[in-house]
Amino acid sequence: MDNIIRRRTPGARLLRAGLYALLLVMALVYLLPLVVMVLTSLKPLEEIRAGGLLSLPDSLTLAAWLKAWGTACTGMRCEGLSGYFMNSVSIVIPAVAISTLVGALNGYALTKWRFRGANLCFAMLLFGCFIPFQVVLMPMAQTLGWLGLASSTSGLVLVHVVYGIAFTTLFFRNYYVSVPDEMISAAKLDGAGFFRIFWRILLPVSGPIITVSVIWQFTQIWNDFLFGVAFAGFDSQPVTVALNNLVNTSTGVKEYNVDMAGAMIAALPTLVVYVLAGKYFVRGLTAGSVKG
């Protein structure tokens, strides 16, 4: 029951029924691709070829999932997505951790140790949020070459950290603005320095915004294809690139069930992260906007 008093005329009720019907249809339209993906990934290939995209599978099988994970061919190699999945993990974890930490430090310095030009500095960082990926491809490739990080996992981590700092700084800066300055002054008088105040006073109250930053960065970096395809080496390709290769590698028969299973595997981690921490995400995004 919602908490609103409504008119109870027949016309009003009919209108509401229509409204809910429309919402239901819209929800189904949105859900349909996912449903098709899940159904297809669980069907044997013969059933798919027989047609009936939406029909429920006669016999459920995890064979496609196992093949996508372990033995499907991505280009020349036929070892499935598992290795690339781990590549993604080893890119995402350091990249998320470093960009979140640097963003937190930036936000802290920009709000609590205001220096001359802090606002200009923040404005320029913000600018980074609006630079499209494609623009930086060439200069970034050049830079990675100079640094000797081309085609390596560390190179990709660096790219994602650099690109992510603009966003994480924005998150933390706006969050720390609402943390009272007097708290920091009190810690200064207690004798604490820059880093001790950060670790002992500020970070323990940053839970909601850390969650936001982690979810955002995790989703961005895990789902990234362009940087992965441009800067990864043969051994460091992320799962998104491998999925593309898997789908494009044809061995005569188009194995839709394996393709769908592969796509599900590639998409699952971001879904899991959102389901586990989603409510903190919403809470963190609105933190500070309402006093309480």
Binding site: E182, S185, A186, K188, L189, D190, G191, A192, R200, I201
Partner: protein
């Protein structure tokens, strides 16, 4: 040696000068209150003392040492903030020991300090709670406990009571006074509440527009104000300022006040309060300052005759406060406030006879607002 000495301190933000040449010295164990309206620079001065904001010019000495360019941590001071500024992720105990921990005080001494301040402030049962589980008054105590744990040379209080409700504010006021009497600490306290200033301070510095207008004991500031602003700011209800004309000569000055009738009200100026400056103002307008309690009611029922000039006027408003009665009475075109005892039977719209006690009156120059006598 002064516990704190401020020499010619200036502070500018851009083109606005917030502190204009402030000099001040505080003795060890003294309770000094900085009072003034918002924007007078009192909080800026406090932050400058704490080292949270650098000064533009001038020097600051704590215990005889120049600390002008030392960080807050190096100054040996503690501060109680208006918002309490407790660390939300720490328990009360951790809040209190944080400063000691940072300064690497041994564990045994830290525990001793917690026990001492917790007992002093009666917060022992709260030690393991988080600040969010405390009431406003309890948070206030913890904030003071945090300051007291370190036993610094100087304590700074930045409007510590303004977030509390009226009843609690009076209680905590008394508690702070007791604490000061018991511990003999040096305190600099900022407030915009003149009653807090009067009740707590050894000395009061009244500030306005980045300047200290008067620095003196509560009695001096109240009864002997330096100018119209100080006179009007201290005291509630405020002092009455009455336009008058000075007449007479040394030894027998008098003030005539236009009260609307044919005859002006003539008030003799007490000879013992004469100053040499008055001679130059004979025949000129002056501002007479009379506090509400400088009036009393001429009442036949009370029997005894009161000294002072008789003033016959009309009551317009009666405001009983319980302890006494505040009246607004007509004085010519304007009105003045009068404080009478609770037994008064003044009725709005009725005539009333008052006696004016001129022995505590003050006289100001209307243009410069400075004190004449």
């Amino acid at each position: 040696m002064s516990a704190l000495e401020i020499r010619n301190v200036r502070k500018t933000f851009g083109t606005t000068e917030v502190l204009k040449d402030i000099s001040l010295a505080i003795d060890s164990g003294e309770f000094l209150i900085l009072v003034g309206p918002s924007g007078c620079g009192k909080s800026t001065l406090m932050n400058a003392i704490a080292g949270l904001e650098p000064v533009t010019a001038g020097e600051m000495l704590i215990g005889g040492e120049d600390v002008t360019w030392r960080t807050p941590a190096e100054r040996d001071i503690a501060m109680v903030f208006q918002s309490y500024a407790l660390y939300p992720s720490m328990t009360v105990r951790q809040n209190i020991v944080f400063g000691l921990e940072v300064r690497k005080v041994p564990k045994a001494e830290r525990e001793e300090a917690v026990a001492r301040v917790a007992e002093l402030l009666q917060i022992t049962p709260l030690l393991d709670r988080k600040p969010s589980q405390l009431s406003g008054g309890q948070r206030q105590r913890v904030a003071m406990g945090r300051a007291l744990a370190r036993e610094p040379q100087i304590y700074l209080f930045d409007e510590p009571l303004s977030n509390l409700d009226a009843k609690l504010r009076v209680e905590m006021r008394t508690e702070i006074k007791k604490l000061h009497q018991r511990l003999g600490t040096t305190i600099v306290y900022v407030t915009h509440d003149q009653i807090e200033a009067m009740t707590l301070a050894d000395r009061i510095a009244v500030m306005r527009d980045g300047r200290i207008l008067q620095l003196g004991t509560p009695d001096e500031v109240y009864n002997d104000p330096a100018d119209i602003f100080v006179a009007g700011f201290m005291g509630s209800p405020s002092m009455n300022f009455i336009r008058a004309t000075l007449a007479g000569q040394p030894g027998s000055y008098r003030l005539s006040v236009d009260v609307g009738g044919e005859q002006p009200l003539v008030l003799p100026w007490p000879a013992e309060r004469e100053t040499p400056a008055l001679v130059r103002h004979v025949g000129e307008p002056v501002t007479l300052g009379l506090r509400p309690e400088h009036f009393s009611e001429e009442d036949a029922r009370l029997g005894d005759r009161i000294e002072g000039t008789l003033l016959n006027t009309t009551t317009t408003v009666v405001e009983p406060t319980g302890a006494d009665l505040l009246l607004r009475v007509a004085l010519g075109e304007s009105e003045i406030t009068v404080r009478l005892g609770p037994k008064s039977r003044a009725v709005p719209g009725e005539p009333i006879a008052l006696r004016v006690d001129m022995s505590r009156a003050v006289l100001f120059e209307p243009e410069t607002e400075s004190r004449l006598a």
